[in-house]
Symmetry: C2
Subunit: 219 residues, 2 copies
């Protein structure tokens, strides 16, 4: 009896700026047994000290980004704190068809756009343990001015109200714990009864019939 | 900022006779970091070679069981292959109130009764990798006559049709893997957005207000 190969799962991970989603996802990719692929976003924002172009983001200029929008290059894109962020369409669909789970690390605005077009996606919201801790993390980034931090805080306030549109919430108290929880969420989703192939259940029933017939029995 | 202590989760695990749910649960309890408690069922069935009274089941006579039914001792009970199986009410509620997750290992009939009275419970169905394998396992039990095995198979056929009433399905290909999946399911459930305390989200918002006020800012 064979089980059909399942399609990959599209997983959207977002959270307020400074909640640590980047590090949590990095830890997840390092430690998971699951077949995960992180889709790289494109952005027009400035490169920060801890950025690695082609790893944290694909960096382009504002003009290049706008050209890509016209070329229908993005699954979704959004403007956020004056910069563009977008999710390239290419390869995502191919990975999913090959049974690979695709992770999108995107801002809340972008995530909600994905929700409109991809009902089957899984939405995970990462929250900081407290807002004081979030502030501390944002201040630790040397690139952020006081005004930018305040702006991010006001944005975070609006964003936390969107949490109910997500499926799961993970509080990033401790990075390793948080990445383990995301791993569990992805693994558990694969066991949801609505994802079990009907063909698999039918094949179990057929087998029962066969076994009973061998003993001249029927249901 | 404090998060309120969450109530424990009631987790119902069932599956056809021979699917290996007992061993999977044993493995789960051995290896989990979660705070789990296995509720012991009471039965009037015969003690098998691998049974440990007070560990696999509480064994009572048919007459004793019927007396307990009259005394309203059970959350649910069912007759299955001519024997009674029941879930004692006592201690379950106490454990849940103390934030401990309670596992009930019960037959499908009993599980569906629980579903009617406990909408908040989590239902996990364990399936064997194949029905041939299930047959092999049942035949491996020396206590089972050929007739009993055939009867169990016919029951399994009916039971597999009830799988869609459950929340999750775990295929018991490999015991350790299956127990890990159940652990993930329980962990993931705790992250579901509808289980996040509203008070926690409110406290995050209050904190943002406080922080902004310190800088003479408002939302």
């Amino acid at each position: 009896m064979k089980r059909m190969k399942n399609r990959g799962q599209l997983i959207v991970i977002s959270g307020p700026s400074g909640c640590g989603k980047g590090s949590v996802i990095e830890k997840l990719l390092e430690s998971t047994d699951l077949n995960l692929w992180l889709s790289l976003s494109t952005t027009s924002r400035q490169i920060r000290d801890n950025d690695i172009p082609g790893k944290t983001y694909n960096f382009v200029t504002k003009e290049e980004f706008e050209k890509k929008i016209e070329e229908d290059y993005f699954l979704e894109y959004a403007e956020y704190s004056g910069n563009y962020y977008g999710t390239p369409k290419s390869t995502i669909e191919e990975k999913l068809e090959n049974g690979i789970d695709v992770i999108l690390e995107i801002e809340i605005q972008g995530a909600l756009k994905i929700k409109e077009i991809r009902k089957d996606a899984l939405f995970i919201f990462i929250l900081p343990p407290s807002m004081r801790e979030l502030k501390r993390r944002l201040e630790g980034r040397n690139t952020e001015t006081k005004e930018k931090i305040l702006k991010r805080f006001k944005t975070a306030y609006r964003e936390i109200n969107e949490v109910t549109k997500y499926n799961y919430v993970v509080i990033n108290d401790e990075m390793e714990e948080a990445s383990k929880k995301i791993n569990s969420i992805i693994e558990a989703e694969k066991c949801r009864v609505d994802r079990i192939e009907e063909t698999y259940l039918n094949s179990l029933e057929e087998e029962i019939h066969e076994i009973l017939l061998e003993d001249n029995e029927t249901i």
